[in-house]
Amino acid sequence: MALIEVKSLTKRWHTDRLALDGVGFEVKQGEIVGLLGHNGAGKSTVMGIMLGMVRPDRGEVRIGGVSVQEDRPRALAQIGAIYEAASFYDYLTGWQNLRALCSLSGWWDEKEVRRVLRLVNLHDRANAKAGTYSHGMRQRLALAQALLPRPKCLLLDEPTDGLDPEGIREFRELILRLRAEHGLTILLNSHLLAEVELMCDRCVILKAGCKLYEGPVPSRQDNKPVFQLTSQDLAKARDIASRLGASMNREGMVELPPHLLGSDIVRHLVEGGIRIDGWQQHRRTLEEFYLEQTGA
């Protein structure tokens, strides 16, 4: 069942720039979906519309069946979010910041707040002013506020932005743990393709306000075997591969049609007089897929 339904979103800014052009996708219960795209592709605009901070010209977002555009408070009661850089009140402590934010949700439970602060490893510094927090601590506080009070779904906009590698790993482990333990549904907007690859089940790729792809994270699919051929005679090898129905690029990356095995290609290449210096299965990374899709 789709917990988040994004339906045909179109948004044109006042400058007449088209930010989104009929973008739609779904996020099912318990899924982690990555939202990918270059700067200006429309990812944050989609997030903004999902949170009711940006008004679409057309289309709507439904969360748990409730339209954000028609009943924002009820729709948002089901989600926690980090939208753009989380900016806390520096003159309040972490605890006071959480209290101020939770008051807007009409909820406060000290025991649960302590539990979440422990979960994000911020319980020792909860009573320090947010102005004294490091960037990593701010991000953890941002995640803590998103987790209060127990949302069904998390919308995370560049949550690992500016974190060091250790912080990114901690964040990833925490997100995966939250999904495993609480069945949280997560929509993740990130530039870090390797992170999306490690965390997400599916991804949506946007370019210039249009959806280019929605589906499983390509590196997790095994239905399209790709091999890397190393040879001095790639041009001739490409001809042979092409006659067999396989496609091969200039770098020797061979993508097989479903009816062929890797060994079939090797046999035909050798019989065609090609000297093979290397042949190994290649798992296409999300980065490669992304760059291919976006034409970068």
Binding site: G80, A86, S87, L92, L104
Partner: protein, 281 residues
């Protein structure tokens, strides 16, 4: 309703957790000391002749209440306006600029409710600041002249020069200060409305102050006599009319109704503007 008060309480705590919120209180204390010093050394004789010319005893009516009234009349409109505009001009614009709004509005709360909480916080701050000025000035008066005496309520702009005994004077002073608190909410309302526009907080504060000052200048120009009812400061000045021996309550009520109407309109206009905005960096 209890949820609304929880949210209001959180907003008030947030406001008073900021050091700059207290600048206004500190500045007024300082100003009160300066005014009292100058008045005691330079202005007391002029004031003495005013009281004597009315046929009253200077020693009786030069009291803590009279001193507090002098300070209140001299300080609130101009300096009070600055601090009220500063706080109300910041309350939406600064939060938008700093990105706090994105954090707040990721919560299940409507923009109208969020702005209502913020507006009421501004209104409460206004009342708190004016009451602080009122009673700190009174305490200073007590420090100089002690308890008791009379009250010479002198406000030439409102056409008032009234003499009261201590008890009646204290009651009049209290009522006038409450009316002044309500009147000053209009300054906060102007700044609040501007704060809802997509402009910098400093621009909201300066524009609000400019508007109030221009309004005040126009009020003092002879050729504006027929149009005074259109000026905010004309209605705001009605607080002093409560000090008359026999106040014209209908006139006072008309002015305050006009102010309430202006405040409500400014709040709603601010909500409409803010509601139409896309909040994205």
């Amino acid at each position: 309703m209890s949820l609304f008060f929880t949210q209001l309480r959180a907003e008030i705590l947030k406001l008073f957790a900021r050091k700059r919120t207290f600048i206004g209180f500190g500045a007024f204390l300082l100003l009160e000391i300066v005014i009292l010093f100058l008045f005691q050394t330079k202005g007391v004789n002029r004031f003495k002749s005013l009281i004597v010319q009315q046929g009253e005893a200077f020693e009786k009516y030069y009291s803590a209440l009279t001193i507090a009234h002098i300070v209140l009349g001299a300080a609130v409109f101009l300096l009070g306006g600055i601090y009220l505009a500063l706080v109300a001009g910041d309350i939406v614009a600064k939060e938008s600029e700093d990105g706090h709004m994105r954090l707040l509005l990721a919560r299940p709360v409507s923009r109208f409710r969020l702005l209502l909480v913020k507006y009421l916080t501004c209104a409460l701050y206004t009342v708190a600041l004016v009451q602080f000025i009122t009673w700190s000035a009174f305490l200073m008066g007590l420090f100089i002249k002690g308890w008791g005496g009379g009250y010479f309520a002198y406000s030439p702009e409102a056409g008032i020069a009234a003499f009261y005994d201590w008890g009646e004077g204290l009651r009049k002073y209290t009522i006038a200060s409450l009316c002044l608190s309500v009147a000053m909410i209009t300054v906060s309302s102007v700044a609040f409305f501007l704060s809802c526009l997509p402009i910098k907080p400093a621009a909201a504060t300066i524009t609000a102050l400019s508007y109030v000052l221009i309004d005040m200048i126009l009020r003092n120009m002879g050729f504006m006599e027929d149009y005074r009812h259109l000026l905010l400061t004309h209605h705001m000045a009605s607080w002093a009319k409560t000090l008359a021996v026999d106040p014209q309550w209908a006139v006072i009520l008309r002015s305050f109704t006009a102010l309430v109407g202006v405040n409500t309109s400014l709040f709603l206009a601010g909500v409409v503007v803010f509601d139409s905005r896309d909040l994205k960096s």
